[in-house]
């Protein structure tokens, strides 16, 4: 188990390195000069040169790549010489722990440095740190909503196969799968917040924390979560219903279910003890896979509901050609993706003893 875990982490690091490289290449072949973008129309040669030097744009691509990786890596090498490209800038890397101190350079341990936004000059790590929880809460609640409701409805549909309920749930899930999230967002927002706003008391836009009208304090507004989570959850919900229905039907026809019946067990016990656990595996794969799509869908949903999350940030940054922010967000999403995949693999092992990881 431990060996498996270490292996997975090593693979994860390898994948991360690949993603980081890909992101770097992608944003380096894109046309446009960040320095010029930053300055806008009122640019003079001298200040553009200054900005280019500050961003390291005058260095070779290879050196830029090395510095980029060095900045990302938790363990990194830096020079003490302020004019050096790899200068240990306390402003950038703080807080850090010095591991090895040499005469002119040292090896330090730090959190990954994602550079500063071209636009706001804020640390990208800080921007992400502020918005990631919002995105995570939104994605997490919609996945939880989709899984719980989906598995429940899927099982009911499997038990009542070929009844009206079964057909309705299949219809609904086909409908849900083909509904684009940006359209669903507008539709749901319009209906529940605008048309029925007085009844439901929900807002069209809003955040998890809001400053109250008197500016006295920040309040948690859980009800603002409902509509975006619902919208985001529709597609995974549709998939989960279908999958858990089919998987349950498949498991119910297995030999060991017949054995369970032949033991004299009552149906609920056969269903919940013998069938459910076996039928959950494909559902879990799907849920983890859907997390990726959720990240794509979240961009629209956050924008439409004005939810200040990663999606909101990345759209904003793309509009303004704010490369460090875009790169940082893409990397963050991949890290989340990898972590979720490792967690899913471990869940497998818990659910199914045949997957003893080695």
């Amino acid at each position: 188990m431990a060996q498996y875990f270490i292996k997975r982490i090593l693979y994860a690091i390898l994948i991360l390195w690949g993603v980081a490289t890909l992101v770097f290449v992608l944003f380096n072949v894109l046309p446009g000069d960040p320095a010029r973008m930053l300055m806008g129309q009122r640019s003079d040669v001298a200040s553009i040169q200054a900005i280019r030097k500050d961003l390291g744009l005058n260095r070779s691509k290879g050196l830029q790549y090395l510095k980029y990786l060095n900045d990302l890596s938790p363990v990194s090498y830096h020079s003490h010489e302020p004019s050096d490209y790899f200068y240990l800038d306390p402003d950038k890397y703080a807080p850090y722990t010095r591991l090895i101190k040499g005469k002119n350079n040292s090896l330090i341990l730090k959190s990954p440095y994602l550079r500063r936004s071209y636009q706001s000059r804020k640390q990208v790590a800080g921007i992400i740190g502020q918005t990631l929880p919002n995105t995570f809460i939104l994605a997490f609640s919609s996945i939880i909503f989709a899984s719980l409701v989906g598995i429940f409805l899927g099982i009911l549909a499997a038990i009542y196969k070929d009844t009206l309920f079964d057909r309705l749930s299949i219809f609904f899930s086909a409908f849900g799968m083909s509904l684009p999230s940006f359209f669903a967002a507008i539709l749901i927002g319009w209906f529940f917040a605008f048309k029925l706003g007085d009844v439901t008391g929900l807002n069209l836009t809003g955040n998890l924390y809001e400053v109250d009208d008197f500016g006295r304090g920040v309040h948690l507004r859980l009800k603002n979560l409902i509509l975006p989570a619902l919208t985001l959850g529709i597609r995974p919900l549709a998939i989960v219903i279908q999958l858990s229905r089919n998987s349950m039907l498949d498991v119910l026809s297995r030999d060991y279910i017949r054995t369970a019946h032949a033991k004299g067990l009552a149906f609920p016990r056969v269903l919940f003890r013998h069938a459910l656990r076996n039928s959950l595996n494909p559902v879990i794969t799907a849920i983890s896979g859907w997390f990726a799509s959720l990240m794509a869908g979240i961009v629209f949903v956050e924008y439409i509901f004005g939810w200040k999350g990663l999606g909101y940030v990345i759209v904003d940054a793309l509009n303004k050609y704010d490369l460090p922010v875009v790169m940082g967000v893409v990397l963050t999403i991949s890290v989340m993706f990898i972590i979720i995949n490792v967690l899913v693999d471990l869940t497998y092992a818990l659910l199914d003893p045949r997957v003893r990881l080695g």
Binding site: Y256, R258, T259, P353, R354
Partner: protein
């Protein structure tokens, strides 16, 4: 009948069918008294399993009981119609008074619970025990079914056990509440012959010790006769004959029963051809090619087997003393293997290097002579199929010499390899998964012809396919059929026609008849023998079934754990096996 326990009368079970309903069980009546064992024999589609399942109301959802009743006499003068009792009551009977074990020990246990938990669950469902008491009981039953180290098995998951061990766990679970009737549905079919023998002994012993009745279902008359007191023969949903074992085996009255008994290859001599059901019935449906599928076609008018017709005509002479397979013809070797080994990596380290290996073949020395059949027998995991794959050069041996017609196969160039691929062909076990469901018979058989550009002309190619179909006794109208329209035997005929397309000289038959019913098996075996003499083919016949290998082979090689433990002329090997393992295998073969 004294001391009756179970009485099935007029049971009819049907399935929805394209037009109307198909009667899978048709007016079946059977009786079983306390302490006796009833064997039900029949081929696939005979309705034997459905009959057993309806006793416990475990029929598949699509099936419906149209009429009949299953009376159960639990003692003290009570009578229950198991088909009419409320669900609650049938649940109390299932696994308690009447319990059941199934064919597939691999899939009949829930993979996510330990074996111990599953047995404890069965015990606690019907008896008021604490977990600790139930565990004690379960361990007691594990010892009773002769499982090695019960404590370890208790904690093991099903996938960690062998097939025989799993079946023992199933038996422990079934008998854990002291049932008065145990229904065993093909409990040994998926197991090796030596394990089959021990399971049969175990069931017989348990029955004696606990006074259980046994309903034993199998397609194999020889297996059933090991444990049964009474026999019933089923065919296409009907009981065609029943009686005590002795009477029925000594003097079978029904043509189907007699056919079933005769078409199994004998162990003591080697006939030139096997009896088929067609020899016993004037009914042409059993002469290949039959109608689409005997089991479904039977619903309109099942063939009526008259009472005892004349004995089969046509003398079937013995092969054994035939001059053409004397050792003098052992000179012309086609394949020659020397010190051949094959390792598979079980575990690899981080760099992909094998740290733990499985030796599937261990220094095999073997010669295969032109025009002869080499029978390759062994239990599962003995390396038979690995050897087959090496012979076809689908995998390369790890070490050793492998010659084909004097040339080293490992050094064959592209041209030689192409010729080799045409010459060397294989027929696999499962005709249900080896045919592409989207190709018609015609395009499947002509595919190798197209690939090797045998005939450029469409018409010629079609003629060749027709000729091949005829060779395997299929009529031309099979050209446009798809696999799902064919029965198991017909599929295997198509598979044989396909490998014959390129005029090969050598065929590997890897358990080619194991998935077929005995009557179909006899037809295919006859066909193979006929093709062999017509085209001067060389066969390697791989099987776990000794009687089949006896019929097919000139020489036999016995394999165990990757090694060839004994080779010899078939007759010789059966008369006086020299290796202890061969002797044990031969002793385990159930016979009538």
């Amino acid at each position: 009948m004294n001391n009756p326990l179970l009485s099935i009368s007029g049971l009819t079970v049907s399935f929805p069918y394209s037009r109307g309903r198909h009667r899978a069980v048709d007016d079946v009546s059977l009786d079983l008294s306390g302490g006796r064992s009833l064997g039900i024999v029949g081929e696939s589609g005979s309705g034997k399993s459905l009959t057993a399942l309806s006793v416990l109301n475990l029929l598949p959802v699509a099936a419906r009981v149209d009429q009949g009743s299953v009376f159960y006499y639990p003692g003290s003068g009570k009578t229950l119609d198991l088909l009419k009792v409320p669900p609650r009551q049938i649940r109390q009977i299932r696994g308690n008074a009447i319990s059941m074990i199934f064919q597939e020990p691999m899939t009949s246990l829930n993979p996510v619970f330990t074996c111990g938990d599953q047995v404890v669950e069965a015990i606690r469902t019907h008896q008021d025990y604490s977990y600790g008491q139930a565990k004690k009981q379960a361990l007691k039953w594990f010892r009773e079914v002769e499982l090695p180290s019960p404590e370890r098995i208790y904690k093991s998951y099903p996938h960690e056990l062998s097939g025989g061990q799993r079946q023992r766990v199933m038996i422990a679970m079934a008998v854990s509440c002291n049932p008065s009737l145990l229904i065993a549905d093909e409990p040994t079919t998926a197991l090796d012959v030596t394990i089959q023998q021990s399971i049969l002994q175990l069931l017989g012993g348990l029955k004696e010790r606990y006074g259980m009745s046994l309903m034993f279902i199998s397609h194999d008359l020889a297996v059933v006769s090991q444990v049964a007191d009474d026999l019933a023969v089923m065919h296409q949903g009907r009981v065609v004959e029943k009686g005590t074992k002795e009477a029925l085996l000594r003097d079978p009255q029904n043509d189907y029963t007699r056919g079933l008994m005769a078409c199994r290859p004998p162990l003591d001599h080697r006939p030139q051809r096997l009896y088929t059901l067609a020899d016993f019935t004037r009914d042409q449906r059993h002469a290949a090619p039959g109608p689409k599928n005997a089991s479904t076609a039977g619903q309109k008018s099942a063939p009526t087997y008259g009472q005892k017709s004349t004995p089969p005509t046509g003398q079937i002479s013995s092969f054994d003393s035939d001059p053409h397979d004397k050792p003098s013809s052992y000179s012309n070797e086609l394949f020659s293997l020397r010190g051949l080994s094959k390792d598979f990596a079980l575990k690899t380290n981080f760099w992909g290097k094998a740290v733990q290996q499985l030796r599937a073949l261990d220094r095999v020395d073997l010669d295969i002579y032109k025009g002869q059949t080499l029978g390759l027998v062994g239990e599962s995991g003995s390396g038979k199929s690995t050897l087959a794959r090496v012979l076809l050069r689908l995998i390369l041996p790890s070490e050793g010499l492998f010659r084909y017609q004097g040339g080293d196969v490992a050094e064959f160039g592209k041209k030689q390899m192409q010729a080799f691929r045409q010459q060397v062909q294989i027929v696999f076990q499962d005709p249900y998964s080896t045919l592409n469901p989207r190709l018609s018979t015609g395009s499947m058989i002509s595919e190798p012809l197209r690939y090797y550009r045998y005939y450029t002309d469409r018409k010629q190619r079609r003629d060749r396919v027709m000729e091949l179909l005829e060779n395997v006794r299929l009529t031309p109208d099979y050209y446009n059929r798809y696999p799902h329209e064919l029965s198991g035997g017909e599929r295997q005929r198509v598979a044989i026609a396909r490998v014959l397309a390129l005029n090969p000289g050598f065929l590997v038959l890897d358990e080619a008849v194991s998935a077929l019913d005995v009557s179909i098996q006899a037809e295919i075996l006859n066909l193979l023998q006929e093709l062999k003499s017509r085209y001067h083919l060389t066969y390697v016949f791989i099987t776990h079934d000794f009687s089949v290998v006896r019929f097919m082979s000139d020489r036999i090689a016995v394999m165990k754990e990757g090694r060839v433990v004994e080779t010899g002329a078939a007759e010789e090997l059966f008369r006086s096996p020299s290796h202890g393992y061969t002797r044990r295998l031969l002793e385990s073969i159930p016979s009538l």
